[in-house]
Each structure stands twice: as structure tokens, then as C-alpha cells.
Symmetry: C2
Subunit: 281 residues, 2 copies
């Protein structure tokens, strides 16, 4: 049993946090932003400057990138620089940051429960959700896979949305959810911010609405669209704890301020080029 050198990368917890993500779209970068905003911890965000932001992301994802002295190459944004350390993969970034800024336990096994909850929500409501409009290939245009997108979205709405909402509701019904509206323990953790953001994407995102409207206009003459599905889930009364948690996060003082600030990137209004999912990988 051998051990890599754990001291390879030195980080100073007081080093500044620097987010690297695509400008103009909230996308997966938004999950990371919400942590810093809720905790009131300063961070820099290269996406605030479109020119610098695009350059930083392009350099990050270049196939010539073989990392640096301290870090392996990243495949896709978001990435977070903290001192000499550069890490990628959204759930991994949150796992690293959350215990340092009071949004997860610093030690003990609770962090593995939080990571499990976050990975599960990501599987269904970020990754599968993305694939509803790119079921065949991210390298193909939407128009070239529209027919398949219609089919996949129908199943997503019918089978997968309720499956994942039921999962979140059960986590909230569990003893480990503790007092208060939170997924795990007696106070807000980063998993709650993830639930908030996926629900927000599903029910508020204009680009998402627009996309689904287009998909269902194509088949059902606009009788059916995504926001209505979320409304139906809410009205069913089966997932009350999920919607209550969504509201509780929305009303957090720091989150509320952030949502009204110009740091919150609006969901893109274009149909194609502004899909976060299209520009990510």
C-alpha cells in the first residue's frame, strides 16, 4: 500500500478564491458562486469581464494544456484557483470549498453524505436534464437532433423528474435531515444551495422554458411545457418539503441580495448560443 505525497500542493486558506467559468451564462459556474455568496466570502469571477473570461476558459480547455507544476489539466470549466491549487469538476469544487466556508462539516462522515446527495441531484437534474436537448451528441446542432430531443424530454418529464423530486423529498423526510427545512443536519449546507439552483433552472430559466416550449410546440402545439410540469409537481403536494426548501434558500439574506445584484448572470435569452449546456462540455 503506497501513498502519493499529500504535501504536493500547498494551499493557504487565506489565498483568494478565483472562479474560472464562461462569461454570459450562469451554467455550472453558478453552483460555485452561490456558495461564496451565501457565506459572504469574497471571490473573483473572471466571467465578469467577457474578454478575459473567454480567454481564461479557452486556455483552460485547450488540448495543449497539460497542467502546471502543481495541477493536472482540467477537461472543462468551472475551475477554481486557490493559491497554488487549481481544481475542476463542480461537485469536487464544492466539496473542497464548502467545509472551509461553513457550508459543510470540516470533519467526520457527514461530508460523504452531502457529496452523495449532491452527486445524485447532479446526475438527474443537471446532467440528464442537459441531455434532453442533446440526446445524440453535444457536437451536433439542436436542429439535427430535435426529433430525439422531443422523445427524450417526454420521458424525462414523465419518469425522471418525479423520480428525482421523490428522492429529494425522501432525503428531507429522513431523520438525518434534522430540524428546519434543510436536506442534511440542522442548518443550511451547500447541498441546499444545489437543490435551490437546480429547481431554479427548472422553473425559472427563460432559456430552458423557451427550449422546452419549442420542443413541445413541435409536437403538441404548445399544450405542454416544462414550467407546467414543475407547477404540476408542486400542486401534487407530494414534494412539499422540496418546494419549502427552495423558498427558504431564496429568502436567505445573502442569497436574496445576490439574486438582485448584477453579479447574478441572467439566464440567457437566446435559443441556441446562450444555452449554458451548449457551451459547456
Amino acid at each position: 500500500m503506497s501513498q502519493p505525497d499529500p504535501k504536493r500542493v500547498k494551499t493557504d486558506d487565506n489565498a483568494p478564491y478565483e472562479l474560472i467559468y464562461w462569461p454570459t451564462i450562469p451554467g455550472r459556474g453558478e453552483f460555485v458562486r452561490l456558495l461564496f455568496e451565501e457565506a459572504g466570502v469574497p471571490y473573483s469571477d473572471v466571467a465578469q469581464d467577457a474578454e478575459k473570461g473567454f480567454a481564461a476558459v479557452k486556455s483552460l480547455i485547450s488540448t495543449d494544456n497539460t497542467g502546471d507544476d502543481n495541477n493536472p489539466p482540467a477537461l472543462a470549466p468551472p475551475a477554481l484557483r486557490h493559491g497554488d491549487l487549481l481544481i475542476s469538476q463542480t461537485p469536487n469544487i464544492m466539496l473542497y470549498v464548502a467545509p472551509k466556508i461553513g457550508l459543510a462539516p470540516k470533519e467526520g462522515s457527514g461530508l460523504y453524505h452531502l457529496n452523495e446527495i449532491v452527486l445524485t441531484i447532479f446526475d438527474g437534474l443537471v446532467n440528464e436534464c442537459h441531455d434532453t436537448h442533446h440526446p445524440i451528441a453535444t457536437s451536433l446542432y439542436y436542429d439535427d437532433q430535435k426529433e430525439e430531443a422531443v422523445k427524450k424530454s417526454k420521458y424525462f418529464i414523465k419518469d425522471r423528474l418525479p423520480k428525482y423530486f421523490s428522492y429529494m423529498q425522501r432525503v428531507l423526510d429522513a431523520k438525518t435531515s434534522g430540524d428546519g427545512p434543510w436536506l442534511y443536519g440542522d442548518s443550511l449546507t451547500y447541498a441546499d444551495l444545489v437543490l435551490f439552483q437546480v429547481s431554479n433552472i427548472l422553473s425559472v430559466s427563460y432559456s430552458f422554458h423557451l427550449k422546452l416550449l419549442i420542443i413541445f410546440q413541435a409536437v403538441d402545439g404548445n399544450k405542454f411545457a416544462f414550467p407546467k410540469s414543475i407547477e404540476a409537481l408542486e400542486k401534487s403536494g407530494k414534494y412539499d418539503a422540496v418546494f419549502k426548501l427552495y423558498q427558504a434558500v431564496k429568502e436567505r439574506p445573502n442569497i436574496s441580495k445576490y439574486l438582485q445584484s448584477d453579479r447574478r448572470t441572467p439566464y440567457a435569452e437566446g435559443v441556441w448560443r446562450h444555452y449554458p449546456e451548449l457551451e459547456e462540455d
Copy 2:
């Protein structure tokens, strides 16, 4: 900034490790098994008894499952019980286990690099790969989405396989890969076992071959199949470090013994019912 109670779940590092996974298929459970086998650490595996194994998984994934006093409910297997702790999500289980059994650093930021590498390989070569034969819905039969599976598999082989092989090669070319054939640092970590297993699935799995053969027979009269794609990647000479690492893991004394043991579940030979991906969720 509030903190959940980090001492909620007590675990004793000497408690036995118990894997809960579907019997008869290697699937995602196999990633966890490889860690214990390489480290020579005993674990129990409920899949070894088909009847008990199916019952354990069915109870785990029941929609009535709201967890227990110490643990939130899991959505899908594999799960790992360790003392009072029960955790799910394959990369999460490995993240928990690896530092305890000498396959990752116990502290420091190296663990976040390993988690990043593993999550990235999983994104492409486990999850996307699964979707090649279920591009529309996991709840539909393969025959009902065969046409879409053919389209998706073509793009997967053309665009995605080289993308992820190039990523793994770049991680191996990076300074952080250190001496020896390993992805990160100077000695074998659990990320190397993950690379081994995905390459093994892609190039050895009979069910995977069979599936792809069927797909391409349908369109190309068997001129093209998946094992040939992997062979082409190998012959290109562009990913030598990846194939060298695969071989190095295969030759590890404990892994070599394990692969020849009856603890190694053979890749299922049925076309449909034995797809690991079909039975997982």
C-alpha cells in the same frame, strides 16, 4: 455560517466493509471491488449470494426507503456500509475508502485532484458510454431506441472516445503524474484502478462488444465495432501512456490474482438482461 454536526455518524475504521450491489453483473460495483482487492483489504460482497444480493439491493432502492437514524436514503447501488455509516455514489464511495486503505493521500489537496480525475473519467467513459445504448430513456427497451443508439454510438466513437483518451493521456503527460506509469503522484492510486476498469469494459466486455456489434451490424454490416475502435486508438500511438497504465494495473499481483478468481464477475453474455447499465439506474 452554520455547521451541521460533524459527529452525527460514528464510524470505526476497523468496522467491516460491506458492499451492496446487484448480483451477476460487474457494473459500477466493480470499481469499488478493485480498491479492496488491490489493497488486500477484506470486504463482504452481498452480490456473491444472488438471492440475498437482489433482496438487499431491492430494499436499498425501494421508494419507501427514507434512510435510517444515521443515513439518508440512497437512490441507487452501489452502496457501502462501514459501521453505522452507509454511503452511495461510486466516486463518493471510492473517495471515502481510498485514503483509509492506502490508495489516496489521507490529507492535503491531492485528494481533490484524484476526485477530479475520477469524476471526469466517469462522466465520459462510464455515464456517456452507458447512454450510447439508452439515449432516449432507461425505462425503454433497447429495441425501442435502437435507431437513436446507432446515431449516438457513432458520435461517441468518433468524438468522445478520443476526447477522453486524449484527456487521460494529458493527465499522464502532466508533471503531477510523477514517476512511474500512474495518473497522479509516484505510486498507484484509486484513479489508476478506475482507468483500468473503464478500459477493460471498453475493450474486454463481451456484452459491450456484442451490443456494439449488433448496433453496427444494423448499419454497417459488421464492418465496424467497438473493440476495433479501441484497437485503432492503441495503434495510433497517441495514447501510449494510457495503454501502458492499463497493462501496469493488470499486472499488479493482487489485481492479477483477483482477475483470475471467482470473485471477479464475468461480463454478462446476454444481450439485454445482463447489461450492467440496464439494471443499474
